[in-house]
């Protein structure tokens, strides 16, 4: 038997997942670029506002995870929760290291935390893909 195409349920889930994830990732990417480039006062007068703006992609990502869990069937839910646990472990380790680096007076805390956050989301998505593709 050849590789089968996903069923109706999976196609609909994939469509909805794209709809949830695209705004979250676009906002996250755009804010990272603005922060790094220092545009619109991101490295000066409006630094606090731009830093707080990162709450928006954080909430959108949380919403995408939540809606993904609600849509998932029982096996997919197990995979998603495992992937989220991996992402959480990466975030915890990343923030811990970022804090220690900051305490040692090395590196930029905002950048380190942002890397830890993006890394945790990437680890979660990668774990989900790898486990989901295991046959």
């Amino acid at each position: 038997m050849g590789r089968e195409q996903g069923g109706r349920v999976e196609r609909e889930q994939a469509r909805q997942a794209w709809r949830d994830w695209i705004p979250a990732l676009v906002t996250l990417g755009a804010l990272a670029v603005v922060d790094e480039a220092g545009w619109f006062g991101a490295d000066g007068s409006a630094r606090l506002a731009w830093s707080l703006a990162n709450v928006v992609p954080g909430l959108l990502i949380g919403r995408a995870f939540w809606r993904g869990l609600r849509r998932a069937d029982e096996y997919q839910r197990v995979l998603q929760l495992e992937a989220m646990a991996i992402g959480f472990a990466v975030l915890l380790s990343g923030v811990f290291v970022a804090g220690l680096l900051d305490a040692a007076g090395t590196g930029d805390l905002r950048r380190s935390v942002q890397i830890a956050f993006v890394g945790s989301v990437a680890a979660c998505v990668a774990a989900l893909e790898l486990r989901g593709r295991a046959r």
Partner: protein, 63 residues
């Protein structure tokens, strides 16, 4: 837990996607159950048994 899902599906000439659509789950889930990577919950096991018009005992059995 072992099961006869693949055998019974093949007897009906259904693809994994066909069965997944009938059960309203993903093909990934059907594949995971067939390969023994996932044991279905009781409600899903009842749905599977209903789709195949048989009993749970006829589909699933211990190792």
């Amino acid at each position: 837990m072992r099961n006869r899902l693949r055998e019974m599906r093949a007897a009906r000439r259904w693809s994994q996607s066909d069965l997944a659509d009938r059960l309203e789950v993903s093909r990934q889930t059907v594949n995971a159950i067939e390969t023994g990577r996932h044991d279905p919950s009781l409600p899903l096991a009842f749905r599977i048994a209903k789709v195949f018009e048989t009993s749970i005992e006829d589909l699933f059995f211990p190792d």
